[in-house]
């Protein structure tokens, strides 16, 4: 599991490495989110926490210094987002640090309930952002194809995508 290597490559502009990084992270996040939900006995979909954490790691990736180990950084973000998400849903939370010790050694979990939909949040986004996110994430188009589809420039697609991700994060945090 060379997360740091993948992330370093991603930071120097390697999009495929970045996707690899996020994919390698996914089962780890799932394992943790489920444990956190089980610990507080909450009736919450762990996948919500997983997606929130993914977006947080994405938006805050420049807070990792690439000469430092990446595990403590990931662990701190996951713990923070899990506590935050559970608290917002009205749960008193204490997540012992030990829960996070072996975070990155967790066995991959089968994504049985992984098809949790955050698509229900998409209607709350401005139209342009929604179209672009849907085109890239769900329909799997590239930036270039999306630009042609909506008669936008690639730059405008990138801006809409970035804003869309940020809006999604705000919605998941319950800020809008």
């Amino acid at each position: 599991m060379e997360l740091a290597l993948l992330m370093r490559a991603a930071n120097s502009g390697d999009g495929a490495a970045y996707e690899g990084f996020l994919k390698a992270l996914l089962p780890v996040l799932r394992g943790f989110a489920r444990r956190a939900v089980a610990r507080v006995g909450a009736n919450i979909d762990a996948e919500d926490i997983v997606q929130e954490t993914l977006i947080a790691i994405h938006l805050k990736r420049q807070t990792w210094i690439d000469t430092q180990p990446i595990e403590p950084w990931i662990r701190a973000i996951v713990r923070h987002k899990a506590i935050d998400a559970l608290r917002r849903r009205g749960h008193r939370v204490h997540l012992p640090v030990e829960d996070f010790e072996n975070l990155l050694a967790t066995e991959p979990l089968t994504p049985d309930d992984a098809h949790r939909d955050i698509e229900r949040h998409l209607p709350h986004l401005p139209e342009r952002q929604r179209d672009v996110i849907r085109s890239i994430a769900i329909e799997g188009r590239s930036i270039g194809d999306t630009a042609r589809q909506f008669a936008m420039t690639e730059g405008a697609v990138r801006v809409a995508l970035h804003r869309g991700v940020a809006s999604l994060a705000a919605i998941l945090r319950g800020e809008t």
Binding site: K23, I55, I74, H80, I118
Partner: protein, 212 residues
């Protein structure tokens, strides 16, 4: 949209690498300090005879304590906005300005008879200090908080407070070039209060705007 689809969107959202967080914070600090200096020279300005006053150890102490506070708070700030980064020695380094003030105060208490302690402590312009330091700190704090939103503080209130300490220390450093009250007792009381005020404001704002 499931997690895999979300990842596709995130992976596509890789703009040309944004400038490093440390650099953004350094730039914000510079912009804030330039604004504070402009405000300083446009209003109260340096004290007359600053060049000769600078040889007084009491005056040097004012600059030294505020500068050491700026350095310690700055180092700590860069840690508090990064998840998983330990605080290292920076939290302990914050004791340095406190220690310097304590030493100065002890020397001062020995240098003056008991009857004069009160007058040395109250000084001449205490309320003025309480107003000027926060005003000079304000542009610095504002610039810092603005860029700190790019950070990821696990405790937003704490990060805001540390930004307040840094801004307060820098504002006090600038004010020290004007301040005619040189007693370490004055420094211990009124500078500390002013900086505490900026720290409190930073903490309250940080708690609101630095959440992520």
């Amino acid at each position: 949209m499931n997690a895999d689809e979300l990842i596709r969107a995130l992976a596509a959202d890789t703009p040309p690498q944004a400038s490093s967080l440390n650099r953004s914070i350094a730039q914000a600090m510079m912009i804030g300090v330039v604004c504070a200096l402009a405000l300083f020279f446009a209003t109260i300005g340096p004290r007359p005879g600053l060049a000769s006053a600078i040889h007084d150890p009491r005056v040097i102490l004012k600059f030294l304590t505020t500068l050491s506070l700026v350095i310690a708070a700055g180092g700590l700030l860069l840690r508090t906005i990064r998840p998983g980064a330990g605080r290292g020695w920076w939290a302990i380094a914050l004791l340095l300005p406190a220690l310097l003030i304590a030493l100065g105060a002890i020397v001062e208490l020995n240098a003056f008879p008991r009857e004069m302690w009160g007058a040395r402590l109250v000084g001449r312009f205490a309320p003025f200090c309480l107003v000027c330091v926060p005003l000079l700190s304000a542009p610095i704090l504002a610039a810092l908080l603005f860029v700190l939103r790019q950070g990821a503080p696990i405790r937003p209130g704490l990060a805001g407070a540390v930004a307040g300490l840094l801004a307060g220390g820098a504002g006090a450093f600038i004010y020290a070039a004007h301040c005619p009250d040189d007693s370490p007792l004055f420094l211990m009381t009124w500078y500390s209060l002013s900086i505490a005020l900026v720290t409190l404001v930073g903490s309250l704002i940080g708690r609101r705007i630095l959440r992520w």
